[in-house]
């Protein structure tokens, strides 16, 4: 048999849509040469729920519960993004306390998302659940806080234009302060187990490198982009909400591999804790949780007819830039409702990162992008 004939024996494998480590119904059509990937085609759409079309049929407020289901790990920050877009469209002022509560919720969401995604990444590496369950133990504490504030653990539906739906119950802030105080202990333990681990470093360093230019060209955002060393954090760039009031840093990677993305997430959690500390210190109950205009909108959603025009509200969601684009034609429903989902856009460079790597690496690279299919397919 000649060399070319030997080379021609490629194996085509469909990883997914029912596959334990594709984080949902995601399919990777992989062509393998031995165990090396020569082609990878991501196939999405299994979880399409017509979210945008539904949003165009409903009032502005009615879309909030649906946004919970986008990235179902980070319901709070999804709500936040849509609220920002509606506020821009309708010119709604936000109450002071509402702003603080939103930032607290968004940063808590970042903590739970980054902790859980690191656990999932280790699970993809075959660590049989231990890191994941350590992360989930902390996530539970944050979910308890969410439940106390919004009544629901994951589908929070809490943030509203002008503030938040309701004020947090008494004692909630103290509980949150306690959590912020204890969280670094978990992070230290987590890092002691993972960061210097020889196997983890062998598996992740120099694997799935995403060059800076490619990351920018593919409009990657979030830890994926910052892992490649691009200083772009919408909390800094856009300065939305009250983020300019807080002092925090943006951690940047150097190589842009899986390890950098892992470590950037760990550092981001530490920065989030700083924001939370400041926010929990500065928050006072001088103002209501929602501004009068926002309250009016929530009470009577069909009376909210924003002037003709468009608005784009974006936030630094845990997974990247989450944008809500709204076009109003003066009716109670948006004329156009579009979501820029970070999971979806970050997923588009999967093949570039995977080519030439082993199958086992493709799973880790996918895990390091951090996708949630609810957001990819919408």
């Amino acid at each position: 048999m000649s060399q070319t004939e030997l080379d021609a024996k490629l194996l085509e494998v469909n990883l997914g849509p029912q596959h334990p480590s594709t984080h949902g119904v995601f399919r990777m059509n992989v062509t393998l040469d031995g165990e090396t990937i020569v082609k990878l085609k991501p196939v999405v759409g299994y979880l399409h729920r017509n979210h945008e079309q539904i949003g165009e049929r409903a009032t502005y407020i009615a879309s909030f519960p649906f946004t919970d289901r986008l990235d179902y790990f980070c319901a709070m920050s999804n709500n936040f993004g849509l609220a920002l877009a509606i506020e821009k469209l309708g010119g709604i002022a936000v109450s002071e306390r509402g702003e603080y509560l939103r930032v607290i919720m968004a940063e808590l969401t970042r903590l739970l998302n980054h902790a859980a995604v690191t656990g999932f990444l280790l699970n993809d590496m075959g660590a049989f659940g231990t890191p994941l369950l350590y992360a989930f133990r902390e996530r539970e504490k944050i979910l308890d806080l969410f439940e106390a504030a919004s009544g629901s653990r994951m589908m929070c539906n809490y943030v509203r234009p002008g503030g938040v739906r309701q004020d947090v119950p008494p004692g909630w802030l103290d509980q949150a302060r306690r959590l912020v105080e204890e969280f670094p202990r978990f992070l230290d333990e987590f890092e002691a187990l993972l960061t210097e681990n020889e196997i983890i470093r062998q598996r992740t360093q120099r694997v799935g490198i995403l060059p800076k230019e490619l990351a920018v060209n593919a409009s990657a955002t979030g830890p994926l982009l910052r892992g490649s060393g691009v200083n772009y954090d919408i909390r800094k760039v856009d300065g939305y909400s009250i983020y300019p009031r807080f002092s925090f840093k943006v951690p940047l990677g150097t190589v842009g591999d899986v390890y950098d993305r892992y470590y950037v997430r760990i550092l981001e959690m530490r920065e989030s804790l700083k924001i939370l500390q400041q926010a929990l210190k500065e928050i006072n109950d001088a103002s209501p949780a929602i501004s009068p205009k926002g309250l009016a909108l929530v009470k009577a959603p069909r009376t909210f007819r924003p002037p003709k025009g468009e608005a784009y509200g974006r936030i630094e969601a845990p997974k990247g830039e989450l944008g809500f684009y709204l076009v109003s034609d003066g009716t109670p429903q948006p004329y156009r409702y579009h979501i820029r989902a970070p999971s979806f856009i970050n997923l588009t460079i999967l093949e570039d990162m995977c080519l030439g790597q082993k199958v086992a690496d493709a799973i880790i690279i996918l895990g390091s992008i951090d996708i949630v299919m609810g957001e990819v397919d919408r």
Binding site: V13, L15, F128, L133, R203, V250, T254, Y263, A360
Partner: protein
Amino acid sequence: MTSLDQLFVHAANTALGLLSDRLRPWASIALRIGVIAAAAPAIMMYLTLYERKVIARMQNRFGPTRVGVYGLLQPLSDGLKMLIKEDVVPRGADRLLHLIAPILAVVPAILLFAVIPFGRRMIAVDLNVGLLYVFAVSSIGSYAIFMGGWASRNKFSVLGAMRSVAQLISYEVPGVLSVVAIIMVTGTLSLTGIVEAQAGRWFVATPWGFAGCLTFFLSGVAEVNRTPFDMPEAESELVAGFHTEYSGMKFALWYMAEFLEAFAVCAFTVAFFLGGWQGPAIPFWALAGLLAAISAAAAKLPLPVRFVGALASAGAGLLWRAEPIPSWIWFLGKTYALFFVLIWFRGTFPRLRADQLMGLAWKFLLPLALVNILAAGLWSAMPFPVGTALSASLLVVSAWALVRLNHPAQLDHRTYVLAD
């Protein structure tokens, strides 16, 4: 030889003594087979519970608690569930091979039990080529795995089976080489002989024995496909590897083979390096006395703890003088302790990648096993302090060199910029 130590041997002899002379040899064989055939599934079932409980504690969970007290009946309910599950064979699969493969996996695993020295005179067949038999029989398992993967007609199964065969063949080499030292020192292939040769000193206490123990145990872990070497069934990329298409009792058989082989690896490591069924060389009561003295003197502990600790250690020492711990308890205790290490690996380590795994076998374990043979030769040829010192330094230097040579150049400690 106290009565408790030889309890099972006496019981068997008494039972066989009731039979006529003509029947006795056959009955003796039937008894040995019967005991192993009954003990192996029981051991496997409770190993699953042991693993689930220990892993659960490592992950802040409870593990099975619902079936029976402390979940003790969970294995029975699992077994029953497996029995009544539908047996699915994929369309286009080779039905016959698909059926034979799991059976072929379990048989060698059970065969291995024939030569495990469970205690003093408690070995089913004391083969004079026991060590060879161990390696010959355990390597049959790779045929079963490849057969199962091939017969399933599934790409994941074939990929898993391919990895598995590569891995098994690679790790057999350092595994066999690591016990060559034992043959050199003891001059026997019989497992009883090897255990008895460790009467004064467990082999793990010698430099070559320590290195050999690590090499043998690591290769063994890799051969039974357990974390961090569970490449063939890497669930995150290959669904379940070679047994993706198995369900019901056939699936249970695969699991049984895996657990029995893992148990056998622990048992053989104990027999080869950790003194088998013998207690430590220092008398236990001396150890207990030392413990008692330490716990009485420990300044940090509160007084009642010190008092109880001292009393308990002294009591254990006295008990030991009256009635030594039976050999089979020593053996099983050590084996289960070693199995705990396996579970600990599983609870804490991520998986290596296929190529890194091969690198470990060929670039690290194999040279180390070869150097170890030289070290064992030095140890036995030279007088006591010189030989030990020479072989220890040889092993340390070569292990250090191998680690340095194998350390991937691209691994680095990084600094991260915290931008504004």
